[in-house]
Structures are given as C-alpha cells and as structure tokens.
C-alpha cells in the first residue's frame, strides 16, 4: 500500500522540475553547445546568420586564438590582476577574521565595520569602474589633487599611461570590492568550528597567534578552498572594470582581459563569432578544470557546512517570529 502511494507521487518530482529543465536546455545547454560548434565554423559578420563547419582545418580558430598575441596578453593580464588582488585580499581577510573572532581582543563596533567593509561589493561594478576612472583622472582627478595637496607628487600624474599602474588600479578595485565578502565568509567558517576545540586550546595555554595558526586555519581549509576557486572563476571572467576603467585597454593592451578580448572579437570590428567562440571554449576548459577540482574536494563537506549555516538562519528567523508572536 505504502509503496504504491509513493510511486504515484513520484511523477510530481518530474513535473515540478520541468520549468527548470526546459529553461536550462534552451538558455544554457543549447547556447553552450552552439558556442562550441561555432568555434569550428567560419561564422563572422554582424547580422550574418549562415555558417559552415571548417572542413579543411577544424581547429583553425583555436589555433588562431592560441597564437593571437592579444589573447595571450589577455590571459596573462587576467592572471596577473587576479594574483595582485587575491593575495592581499586573502591576507587582509584572514587578519580581520582573526581579530573579529578572537575571544580575547573583543573589538567593539564589529557590526558597523562588517557593513562598511562589505558595502563596495554590492555597488554596481560598472559604476565603480567609472567612479575610479574619474577618481584617478588626469588632468582633473581627486587622487591627483590629494597627492598634490599632501606634497607627495610635484606635478599631476597620468595614471593610465603606465601599464603597471593601470593593472594595479584594477587589482586594487577588485581587492577593495571583495575583501569584505571574503572576510564575512571566513568569519562564518570560524563560527562553524566546534567551540570546544578553542576552549581546550585556551585551557592548554595557547596564545592567540598559536590558536589561529594551529587550530583556526587548519579547520578553515575547505572554506579557504571554496573562496580560492570561486574567486579564481570570477577573476577569470573579469569584464566590467577593465572594460570601463581604461579606454581601449590602455597602452599595449595593458588591461585587456580574456573576457574583454572575447567581447571585442565578437561585438566590434569584424564580428568574428568563430574566434570569440573558440576563445570562450578555451576559457571554459580552464574554468571547468578549476570547478572540477572544487567539486571533487568539496562535494560532501560543503553540503554539511551549508546545511548547518542554513539551519542557524532558520532558527534565528523562527525565534524572531516567535518573539514577534509573543508580543
């Protein structure tokens, strides 16, 4: 009797998944396959919808892209910008996490600092790009005015003419937008660690630094990996800021990234859909490898930790509701 009942309800599992599956097939899977196929064709030109598979040399676009200096420059820039942003971002987030979660220091105003540090993350990246383009503007720009006022420079400095400075500014913006986010994730991770371990360390007389390096960090491994991979994937796709910050990607393509390269190939000039598609697929492979590593390492742990965190939220909400009802 019971088995028949559960059998008859099983069809709703399929019915309720239909909207997701259909949308996924149309708007995700099909475009992905289409992009992959276009990488092997002669498709180009605005408004030109006809194309045919390259039969003489199917991998021509991939070869062209991989031998394209701009694309290689773009990949290198993307990697350099990501490294320059991620390492300081991680170090600062770890430091702040250690401070905010330390039982001894008991810093005041944590709520305020968390809100302020996370704020840049929620603001439109396009607006931030244009804002920083103006802030570092030349000849008229607040940073120039401030540096002159402080006597740090003698005459106005054209930031975006210098390749390293341009890349540095993009890395700085990324750092500035994301360290608050990383910090919040890490703090949540520390709070998820069993408090008894910390108590035991305290009883054993471990110093704050010892506790952090010997207990907190090893227990954060999974979350650090999660932050690393999600940041890497986001960093590989960085588009808004490099596209809007420096006109025409600066001197010698100093701030050209892989995504901007794809955009330029497809939506300007000769509208090379085929080359843009090939470049997308190369980027896709890089990202898939990164995701695969993440997926492999985190498949069990992450789900368990996430469930715990969601449960905490649910409990908070329900106790809040109860409190409201009691009123």
């Amino acid at each position: 009797m019971k088995r028949r009942k559960s059998f008859s309800y099983a069809k709703y599992g399929y019915i309720f998944s239909i909207p997701f599956i259909i949308t996924f097939l149309i708007f995700s899977l099909y475009p992905t396959i289409y992009t992959a196929v276009l990488g092997f064709t002669d498709s180009k030109g605005l408004g030109n919808t006809s194309w045919k598979i390259l039969t003489d040399d199917p991998f021509r676009n991939f070869k062209l892209v991989l031998n394209n200096e701009s694309f290689i420059t773009g990949l290198k820039n993307t990697a350099a910008i990501w490294m320059m942003n991620f390492i300081p971002q991680m170090l600062l987030a770890l430091l702040l996490t250690a401070w905010f979660t330390s039982r001894r220091s008991n810093l005041k105003g944590q709520g305020f600092f968390k809100i302020v540090f996370y704020m840049p993350n929620i603001i439109t990246a396009a607006s931030i790009a244009v804002l920083f383009a103006t802030l570092f503007g030349y000849p008229v720009g607040p940073v120039n005015s401030l540096l002159l006022k402080l006597g740090l420079i003698k005459e106005k400095f054209y930031f975006y003419i210098n390749k390293d400075v341009s890349r540095g500014i993009i890395a700085f913006i990324q750092f500035w937008m994301w360290y608050g986010y990383t910090m919040l994730i890490l703090i949540a991770g520390v709070k998820g660690i069993n408090p008894e371990i910390f108590e035991a360390a305290e009883i054993d007389g471990a110093s704050g630094t010892q506790t952090f390096f010997r207990i907190t960090l090893p227990n954060l491994k999974t979350i650090l990996l999660y932050v690393l991979i999600t940041s890497l994937i986001g960093g590989l796709n960085i588009f808004d800021i490099p596209r809007l910050l420096v006109p025409y990607s600066g001197p010698d393509n100093a701030t050209l990234t892989a995504s901007v390269f794809i955009y330029n190939q497809a939506f300007s000039g000769s509208y090379f859909w085929n080359r843009a598609a090939a470049a997308s697929m190369i980027l896709f492979v890089i990202i898939a490898v990164c995701s695969g590593i993440l997926f492999f390492i985190m498949r069990d742990k992450e789900a368990a930790e996430h469930r715990k965190a969601v449960k905490r939220l649910a409990k908070q909400q329900s106790s809040k509701l109860k409190a409201q009802e009691a009123k």
């Binding site: 019915i15 929620i122 603001i123 383009a133 008229v140 401030l146 949540a188 979350i223 992450e302």
Partner: protein, 282 residues
C-alpha cells in the same frame, strides 16, 4: 586574565582600531567624494577635485546631465523591470525545483541534483556567443524576456533553497495536507512557499542586486537606447559627451548608486547574514 591584557592589550587595540578605521574610510571616501563632487561646478572640480564639503551646483549639474544622452529614469525603469522579473522567476521556480528534489522520490533525482551542482559555476561570459546568436535568430535582442526568462533556471538558488528545505520543512506537514485532500500544487503554493519566506528574502536580495548590477549580458543584447539598463547608462558617462562636465558625471554616478545604497542600508543586517551562508549569489 584581565590583568594580563595591560600594555600588550592596549597596544593591540590601538593598532587594530587604527587599521579598522582606515579601512572604513577607504570604503566610504570614494563614494563621499562622488557625492560631494556631484554638487560642485566644473570650475571648482578643475581647481581641486578633492573636497570633503558639498557645494551648491547640484541643480545646474542635473540640468547638464539630463540635457544629453544620460536618461536615469528610463535606465531605472528598465533595470527595475528586468531585475524584478528575473528575481520573481528565480525565487518561484528555484523553490519549485528544490521542492521536487526534496519532497518526491524519483529515479533521476540524484543525477539531476548532481547536474545542478556541476553547472553552478558556469558563468554567462562563456556561452555568450551562442546565446547572442540564438537570441538574434529568434529576434529577441532588445527584448527584456531574453534577460528575464533564463532566471527560471538558477542553479545557485536551487541549491540554496534545497538546503533551507532540508533544514526547516517538516515532511509531516505535507502528509497532513495530502490527507486533507490538498493537491500537490496547492500544497506547494499555499503551505511550502510561506514557510520559505526567510530563505526567499535572503535569496531575493542577492538575485535582485545581481541582476541590477549585471552589465555584460544587457550590454550585448540591448542595442536600442530606449532599452538601456542602469549599468549601460553608466558606461555612457565615460563617453566624450561628458568629457569636461565633471560635476554632471559625478552626479550621474551618484544617481545610479543611490538605489543600491538605499537597499543596502535598509537591509544590511539580512545581507550580512546572507553572505555568511556562502554560495548565495545571483
């Protein structure tokens, strides 16, 4: 314990608070300069672009700004339509999909969940060429539906909703509803959705902000200036037409950022709590 934290403790606190306050200034200052400069005249900005106190040229900057291609009302309305539409789609259908994964025992349930986990990380940039060409062939460029409908399949949101349901959806309640003769669809709409409110609020904020801030897809799809979203409007501020109208550019930026500030300061508590859950993204 307390005696020990004398000199070292005070020194640590002095260093820590100094760093924290400097970082807070770093977060606020760029936006502060933006707001202040949006009230200053071009001449004032040219004299010194760095000022901490507002001036009186807000109105004239506004006149200059609106006199050209920048149209914040259209951008605001378009962004609102897309963001609200996409958020509603994501919230409702992600809950429905998560419910299918939780409440029913079906053969492909586990493979389906694995698929959702696997495609969670694929970013839009990767498939844009195929997506654009496909939309072009359907004649759906410059159509907001091309930006709203894909939100029905949001793997991140399904994952989040599923985790919430596992933790806080009592299956006995659904059994009880069945015994009372409620149809499965009615149960989902009238019993499950209300229970999901906290998760819907958290996910809703992030989905909305993600769609509001999205530049890449709208920039590619929307070529008609009547259809421009806020981030596309922002990119116009960089063009030559506003080259020396510094006050107007700052004001334009302020206008695009303002709605987000309002959302953030009203809901920051939920947003901070939501970020801590990780994985919550558009």
């Amino acid at each position: 314990m307390r005696r020990k934290s004398s000199l070292g403790g005070i020194l640590f606190k002095a260093v820590a608070y100094t760093v924290l306050i400097l970082l807070a200034i770093l977060s606020i200052l760029p936006f502060w300069i933006m707001i202040v400069n949006s009230t200053r005249s071009t001449f004032q900005v040219q004299q010194s672009a760095f000022a901490l106190l507002p001036s009186t040229f807000l109105q004239s900057n506004l006149d200059v700004l609106l006199g050209k291609t920048f149209d914040p009302m259209t951008g605001f309305a378009n962004s609102m339509i897309i963001s609200v539409g996409a958020t509603v789609c994501t919230l409702y259908f992600s809950s429905l999909t998560a419910y299918a994964l939780i409440a029913y025992n079906w053969k492909l349930r586990q493979p389906f969940f694995t698929l959702i986990m696997a495609v969670m990380m694929i970013p839009a940039q990767i498939t844009i060429i195929g997506f654009y060409k496909f939309m072009y062939q359907l004649g759906m460029t410059n159509n907001f539906l091309a930006l709203i409908l894909p939100a029905i399949a949001a793997p991140q949101a399904v994952f989040f909703m599923r985790q919430f349901m596992v933790a806080s959806l009592p299956m006995e309640l659904l059994e009880a509803a069945r015994i009372d003769g409620s149809s499965e669809f009615f149960t989902f709409n009238r019993i499950v959705m209300p229970i999901m409110k906290p998760a819907l609020a958290t996910q809703g904020i992030f989905t909305f902000v993600f769609n509001w801030n999205n530049l890449f897809l709208p920039l590619v799809l929307l070529t008609d200036s009547e259809k421009y979203t806020m981030p596309i409007m922002v990119s116009l501020l960089k063009g030559d037409i506003y080259k020396t109208e510094y006050g107007a550019v700052y004001l334009g930026l302020t206008l695009t950022v303002l709605p987000l500030f309002v959302i953030y300061f009203l809901l920051s508590k939920y947003i901070i709590a939501g970020v801590a859950l990780g994985g919550v993204k558009g």
